[in-house]
């Protein structure tokens, strides 16, 4: 970049420079990746500086784009359609058609763009410390940078091909990052499993894109001048009343299969906990804002296709909601039987993604997107806290039962951040999770899906309970194992401190920043405080108005400017065929916030926390060998401040009643199902494929097909062998044969002529 004059620096702020050039956000990290790969090892900081700087540049671009988008929305006023900023360039051509690559920046894009760039920056900073001295430090930063670039490219994509590109690049990078320590076979198997499971879902994406392209291309080309890959074109087409209901159903289901694979929804969620084999910053990035969110983003991005295809807001429940509901419950139940702190968080992610999907499936688009936003902060914070613990307190162990406990005294910042994020995750007022999760549950109920609302509330109960258990095991009680200063092995060689201590500034700073956001990010759409607080709705939700399109703008840029709109409140979009225009988003309802409903869900959460706290304290405290005999009274004393009475009774209930029924058979059964049945099916399929492959290869290919080839060769050879003796090698014999033949021929000739 050349130096800019002062006026030129100012000008971008005026004319939406950041919006026009948001495409740089994925491009800069991509260039960063190439630079790290080529020169990283020779740089003073081994390439990490390139990674951090390039992703920070993306963050600046994303922030600028977000700010200018907000201005753009403000300029458009309350009722008008805010057209996305689209720029395209020709990418490839086929059959005389030219296909473009480009950016599509709207409210959803800027929100996710900002979140991804923000979390990526923090995670990279965190990794500077966390992976210091790692044997593949440079490669790690290269892969991490490309990973973020992939997600940013997917978010910004104008067309499904670029979307697919970003999607697959993330898959590749997750393979590299999960298998970062690939010397250990378990890690590389986990990486393989992640890539392969996601790739299985990707068949749906390939099929879905293909179906949509051919179904929509003609309509989008003639009506909007866009190809059938264009997200904008597909959105309008899906709501135009044009699509054949079977075709769009097939496309939506196919795309949803891809989303299931990527976002770890039931039944393809099994790869997610295994993906914990990667370094903790990777888990954090993967589970908060990138990769697993991609599936949810796909549904949110192509929402009109799913809306029409799966009949969202229709009278019956749809596929998305059913899958999401199952996911919420089974994943939350699984989190109870984990001893690995990262696995608890992994299942929690699966469950939370279920909430997002549930919201999307039930027509609560905005709460779902908002949940992407808030969840990213508190989940990243939780993972980074877990990493901080393993880095500084538990000698690289993630085992809550063996190597943690009582850490709150040693790690005040980490503990505070963890607690805040846990409360946010549980949905406690006024932390961020409350505003998004409660909105989802509220809107699911508001749209008439009572059963799914109950599932959501049940999920909230389970979430509160398992997070309380994990918190207790990690931070409360007596220190155990490594946390108590015992050196199980010589892992702790890199730090000279004996015993647990707080991590360095490069680790605690990102955690602290995320913790602050975990508290306050909910205020961006604080429905309880009145409509004026609903910023996210104003900025993000596409307005369901009928738009009359006219083409303008210079060559190479297709700017679609609305020239007329209908009203906002009584939009026909999504329910009937728009006349004299197109719709880009369906009309959705927003449930009215009521404290009575919110208090109910808050009560459920608090009951969950309370029950879990008491049971955890009793159970895990009592098992401490130094407390044998005094267990009951001491456990109560240490647990402290809540319920003192009925402890005996609760302990009994816990052992015989709740644990043995819910946490015992139920969760273990679910886990068993997960490990044995689902994974078993996966392994079974793999084994059968191998067997079939062997049979096909050995019996059909080598024996039958190749056998036929060899048989024809043998036949030729046999004929040759049988006539071989004639070839005696003696001139005399040949001469005799020659003359004999000539004589016979002459005889025949004579006979024939007479």
């Amino acid at each position: 970049m050349t130096l800019l004059a002062a006026s030129e620096i100012l000008s971008p702020l005026r004319d939406g420079w950041f919006l026009q050039n948001a495409w740089l956000a994925p491009l800069i990290p991509t260039i960063g990746f190439v630079l790290i790969i080529l020169f990283g090892k020779r740089l003073p900081k081994k390439g990490s500086e390139v990674g951090v700087l390039s992703i920070f540049a993306s963050l600046v671009l994303a922030s600028g784009a977000a700010w200018q988008w907000i201005q753009r929305v403000g300029d458009a006023g309350e009722e008008r359609f805010v057209s996305p900023v689209i720029r395209t360039w020709t990418w490839w051509q086929s059959g005389g058609m030219e296909f473009t690559i480009g950016q599509h920046v709207d409210g959803l894009t800027v929100v996710v763009l900002f979140v991804v760039a923000f979390i990526s920056t923090l995670v990279q900073v965190y990794s500077l410390e966390y992976l210091r001295g790692d044997r593949r430090y440079t490669h790690f930063f290269a892969a991490l940078t490309l990973f973020s670039a992939g997600m940013l490219a997917m978010v910004i994509a104008e067309d499904m091909i670029l979307f697919l590109l970003g999607w697959e690049i993330m898959g590749l990078c997750s393979f590299m990052l999960i298998g970062h320590w690939w010397e250990d076979g378990a890690n590389s198997r986990a990486a393989l499993k992640a890539f392969f499971t996601v790739r299985t879902g990707d068949v749906g994406l390939l099929v879905g894109i293909s179906v949509l392209f051919f179904a929509a291309n003609e309509w989008t080309t003639s009506n909007l001048g866009l190809s059938g890959f264009s997200i904008r074109g597909l959105s309008a087409w899906a709501l135009s009343g044009e699509p054949n209901s079977t075709v769009i159903l097939v496309a939506a289901v196919a795309l949803f299969i891809a989303a299931i694979g990527k976002s770890g929804q039931f039944p393809l969620h099994t790869w997610l906990p295994d993906a914990m084999a990667g370094p903790t910053p990777v888990s954090s990035l993967l589970h908060s804002s990138t990769m697993v969110v991609a599936g949810v983003f796909l549904v949110a991005r192509l929402y009109p296709v799913f809306f029409t295809g799966l009949d969202i807001l229709g009278p019956s429940s749809n596929l998305i909601m059913i899958v999401a509901a199952i996911t919420i419950v089974i994943a939350a139940a699984l989190a109870f039987v984990q001893t690995d702190i990262k696995r608890v968080l992994a299942y929690s992610t699966v469950s939370q993604l279920g909430y997002m999907m549930l919201g999307l499936g039930a027509g609560a688009w905005l709460p779902a997107v908002f949940h992407i936003f808030t969840h990213a902060f508190f989940k990243a914070c939780l993972f980074l806290s877990a990493g901080s613990i393993s880095h500084s307190a538990s000698h690289h162990s993630f085992d809550m039962k063996k190597d943690m406990g009582g850490l709150r005294k040693h790690m005040p910042i980490t503990f505070a951040a963890w607690t805040v994020s846990t409360l946010a995750l549980c949905g406690v007022f006024p932390f961020s999770g409350f505003f998004s999760k409660d909105e989802i549950i509220d809107n699911v109920g508001g749209n008439g899906y009572t059963f799914f609302m109950v599932v959501g509330l049940g999920g909230a109960f389970l979430t509160a309970a398992y997070m309380t258990r994990a918190t207790y095991l990690t931070f409360f009680g007596e220190p155990r194992g490594a946390a108590a200063g015992e050196h199980g092995d010589d892992h702790g060689s890199h730090d000279s401190h004996a015993g647990p201590h707080e991590s360095g500034i490069l680790i605690t700073a990102p955690i602290a920043i995320l913790a602050v956001l975990a508290i306050f990010s909910g205020l961006f759409n604080a429905t309880p405080f009145g409509e004026s607080w609903e910023y996210m709705k104003k900025w993000t939700e596409p307005r369901a108005v009928v738009v009359v399109e006219s083409h303008s703008g210079g060559p190479g840029e297709a700017f679609l400017v609305p020239t007329a709109e209908s009203g906002y409140g009584d939009s026909p979009c999504g329910t009937e065929t728009p006349k004299s225009g197109v719709c880009y988003a369906p009309q959705l309802n927003h449930a009215k916030f009521k404290w009575s409903k919110a208090l109910l869900s808050l009560a459920i959460v608090f009951v969950g926390i309370a029950i879990s706290w008491l049971l955890s304290a009793a159970l895990y405290g009592r098992r401490d060998p130094r407390l044998v005999g005094l267990t009951q009274r001491n456990a109560v004393a240490r647990a402290g401040y809540r319920l003192l009475t009925n402890k005996y009774y609760l302990d009994h209930l816990y052992e015989r009643g709740v644990v043995s029924t819910i946490a015992g058979p139920f969760a273990r059964g679910a886990y068993w199902f997960n490990q044995r049945v689902l994974d078993g099916v996966l392994h079974g399929v793999a084994r059968v494929s191998r067997t079939v492959a062997n049979v096909v290869y050995r019996d059909i290919d080598q024996r039958l097909v190749d056998g036929a080839v060899n048989a024809s060769a043998d036949a030729t050879k046999a004929v040759g062998t049988s006539v071989q003796p004639i070839q005696s090698g003696r001139v005399g014999h040949y001469g005799a044969l020659l003359f004999a033949t000539a004589a016979v021929a002459a005889l025949v000739f004579v006979i024939l002529n007479t």
């Binding site: 990418w91 051509q93 086929s94 697959e168 010397e183 890539f195 790739r199 080839v709």
Partner: protein
């Protein structure tokens, strides 16, 4: 079809220049290895320079037209002419053949396979180059046939002399199988010649007049061509020569075989069989598509069952060429574009994979997957290159393989008029499943060879990528990435020519 005759010497020079090198090599004494290598290198460099000249002078605005056309009498008795030219379909393949030969020559400077004799080796390679380049520019069936067959012999010797333990079996199988196909192909060529009035063997003439042949006759002629080309591709179930030939061939032979020779078959379909016999093509297309998707799945199964790295890569060719044939069988410009792109991409990627396999064999003295492991620790650069090529091979977007695979799947959703749509949509889903299998076998291979820890090899001859290897590989790696990121580099050239070729099907 429009013909542009400017600079019409350039193709002949480009094609026959290697023959000049062959003559020079014949008079070079056998003992002087340095001189032999220099002559071979200079010849192939000069050829590539001519190729670049061709590229620069190619009129990209008229990529659908035949360019650099030269036409003179050749064998007047049978009305065969020396008629050559390139269009957007031929050009990439023609240049690919030159570049790959150069890279293979560079690689061979340092890696003459046992039992040595570089003189004969380079002579065969240069003859091979003439045959390959000639096939892609020939616009006369007899000329095409001559070049097509010219390729066989050097490859036969290359496998038979410099090959592995079962080289004699493999080379004979390769030779006989392809000869068998060629014989039927020649009969088909003669049939179409006589059925169009015994006027000319020129392809443009046959494209004009071939459609007039009665449909049932067309179907039979197409059958002959089908077998000839399908063996070369190779399509299931004519593929069994391929794993043997690839496994036994020396590295250089495998690379050329994968990168160029397999494309002769698919090119034959696009250039000759389909445009000259449109009615028969419609009849045959569903069968071709069916065999293609069977090949995709079957090749993947074959890969999963392998224990030998090179054989696995060989089987993966069956699967990948299945995607190419699926694209062709749709008879749409979308599909054929994908197919031609897929040919180039497969040439680059699989050629590269065979290079790697050769280098692995050289270092570890085995290609048994079970005996390999930890390449990333021992030879990190080689390991990363293998990773990149595996990713490209499994069709990762942003790398060249994707643009052959995804549009081919896409095109199957909507085949040409007259083809059964639901059959093709079934093919589409099966082919899409094939991408999962591709991911499975390639990542499985990668996990077992590159990850983990090295398995007790003596370390002293295990070294990372050498300079010769870098020089030979970098152009391929750059091309894999460049075509992946900017696919229009190829699509822009291919597309007009494909549309011209498929005029009989209404685009």
């Amino acid at each position: 079809m429009q013909m542009i005759r400017d600079n019409n010497w350039v193709l002949s020079v480009g094609t026959f220049l290697p023959m000049l090198g062959v003559i020079a090599l014949l008079v070079t004494p056998k003992a002087n290895e340095a001189a032999i290598k220099m002559v071979a290198l200079l010849t192939s460099v000069a050829t590539v320079i001519i190729g670049i000249f061709t590229l620069v002078n190619f009129d990209f605005d008229q990529a659908g037209a035949m360019q650099f056309v030269a036409q003179t009498d050749w064998i007047p008795v049978i009305k065969s002419t020396y008629f050559i030219g390139v269009d957007g379909i031929s050009l990439p393949l023609y240049l690919l053949s030159m570049v790959v030969t150069l890279l293979v020559v560079i690689y061979s400077l340092d890696h003459i396979p046992s039992p040595g004799n570089p003189k004969a080796f380079f002579i065969l390679m240069l003859i091979l180059q003439t045959g390959m380049a000639g096939t892609f520019i020939a616009q006369d069936l007899i000329l095409f046939f001559v070049f097509f067959e010219l390729v066989l012999l050097p490859m036969y010797f290359m496998i038979g002399v410099w090959g592995g333990e079962q080289r004699q079996y493999a080379s004979l199988k390769f030779f006989l199988y392809t000869m068998f196909g060629s014989a039927l192909m020649l009969v088909a060529f003669l049939a179409i010649f006589f059925k169009t009035g015994a006027e000319s063997f020129a392809i443009p003439y046959l494209v004009e007049n071939g459609g007039g042949i009665a449909k049932n006759v067309q179907v039979w002629i197409f059958a002959g061509m089908f077998i000839g080309f399908a063996v070369k591709v190779p399509m299931f179930p004519f593929h069994t020569w391929l794993p043997d030939a690839h496994t036994q061939a020396p590295t250089q032979g495998s690379v050329i075989l994968a990168a160029i020779l397999l494309k002769l078959g698919t090119y034959g379909f696009v250039r000759i069989a389909i445009p000259t016999l449109p009615d028969a093509a419609i009849e045959w297309a569903p069968w071709i598509g069916g065999l293609a998707v069977v090949g995709i799945i079957y090749g993947a199964f074959g890969c999963l069952a392998q224990t030998d790295m090179k054989r696995l890569i060989a089987f993966s060719s069956v699967a990948h060429m299945g995607f190419v044939m699926l694209g062709i069988s749709t008879l749409t410009s979308f599909g054929v574009n994908a197919a031609v792109f897929g040919m180039v991409a497969h040439g680059l990627i699989t050629g590269m994979l065979f290079f790697i396999a050769g280098s692995v064999k050289e270092r570890y003295h085995t290609l048994e997957i079970a005996k390999l492991g930890g390449m990333l620790t021992q030879v990190p650069r080689l390991g990363w290159i293998l990773g990149l090529c595996s990713m490209a091979s499994l069709g990762l977007p942003g790398l060249a393989g994707f643009w052959g695979e995804f549009p081919a799947i896409l095109s199957a959703y909507n085949p040409a008029d007259g083809l059964n749509v639901s059959v093709y949509r079934t093919y589409m889903v099966i082919a899409a499943l094939g991408t999962v299998f591709a991911a499975a076998y390639l990542l499985w291979l990668y996990q077992r060879t590159a990850f983990g820890t090295p398995k007790g090899h003596d370390h002293h001859d295990v070294h990372d990528v050498t300079t010769y290897e870098w020089v030979a590989w970098l152009p391929l790696l750059v091309a894999i990435v460049a075509f992946g990121v900017v696919p229009n580099l190829l699509f822009g050239v291919i597309d007009p020519a494909v549309q011209e070729t498929l005029r009989a099907f209404g685009g």
